[in-house]
Symmetry: C2
Amino acid sequence: MSDLIKIAVDAMGGDGSPKKIIDGIILNHSTNKNNFFKIFGDKNKIDPLIRGKIPAEFFELIHTEKKIESTDSPLEGAKRGKDTSMWLAIQSVKDKEADIIISAGNTGALLVVSKLNLKMIENIDKPALSALWPNKKGMSVVLDLGANIECSSKNLSDFSIMGASLYTSLYPNDKPNVALLNIGSEELKGNDTIKETYQLLNEKKSDNYNFAGYIEGNHLMDGEVNVIVSDGFTGNVALKTHLFTILCLV
Amino acid sequence: MSDLIKIAVDAMGGDGSPKKIIDGIILNHSTNKNNFFKIFGDKNKIDPLIRGKIPAEFFELIHTEKKIESTDSPLEGAKRGKDTSMWLAIQSVKDKEADIIISAGNTGALLVVSKLNLKMIENIDKPALSALWPNKKGMSVVLDLGANIECSSKNLSDFSIMGASLYTSLYPNDKPNVALLNIGSEELKGNDTIKETYQLLNEKKSDNYNFAGYIEGNHLMDGEVNVIVSDGFTGNVALKTHLFTILCLV
């Protein structure tokens, strides 16, 4: 058991929960026996969905009837208390009872409750939302996708470090190329914040990644850049425009 | 002749100019005899491309050897003088010798030289770049696509008026729905500027358009909204991400 990766799951968040969440756990277990699931939520609803579907030594149910609603503001969500399924799941990572936490629930609350409970990495001011974005050669890490509407050059510079770390943990053999999402590839393009970030990253040499300058929206899928850094507003619009275009065309 | 629409064309701007530009004029003329082209550029290069391809009564060549380069900054472009092909083409609209001006050249210079020569509409502070964006039901007007990196709520409110006017001139039978591009559809989402713009547009009732609130990137193609308003940074990233996704998938 101790070799298994311990995954805390907020079973009560997101559309179609808890069934969709539990179905996901069962699907994962069908091909991967390396994970142990600590499942937080309403035992009466979850137990019939999972019992007999995966062996008892691969999961644990932690009962709570309280949950954060998708319509809550981030603060309303946090104020529902320390015994919601999301809070308890996050708390289990803080208490080192789980290695990571997964929730499909209220994203704003997830950020706020996580920041309250889990410390930020030293010198990093803000958490970011990230996704893997398909390109012609593989996957890019893109961040921030909406956690931070307004970002300073320090934030964007931090996201470069965070994104490069995530990329390297996924693809340990590659030294990632990091670029800033901008409206042109020339140095004079963009707003003051992005130009300041360019200067910061250009001056700071890192052993962990190469700074590749600016990237335009039409080059996101080329695969030359592995980590794409943006403020949360632009990143969110780009993500939604892009994903919906794919959905609409395939 | 006087019934023809007079189109001033900067023949020397853009990749593959002047040939691509003149080919476009010839292509247009093959299906549309309502346009008269005032073509500005190097006569020695343009004359062999057009002579004999369309009748002489449908075009006029205005010779200049000077042109704005794509690598010029907007101000560098403007400082090349009043006898570049772009400047002369714009000037002809000011002098009422042409109805509109078309250029595939340096966009920044086009904005600056146009603003210097052609007055802004009263009470409108900034010009915007606009495009027709295909949706499930037809076309939407989207602006700004990159002219204004940072926009105030006044600018965004102006763009609503400008976009609605453009839409109505293209589709006179429809009263357009106007929406602000944002990261969520709830009123509390977005940055301060976009929230202020929401308030401005919500309070100001217009006979010319309906204010439809916020629109997210994944709903741009639904066709429920006819005019989509954004700052130039976000709009540019959305446009490039979107168009490239289509190019990549078709």
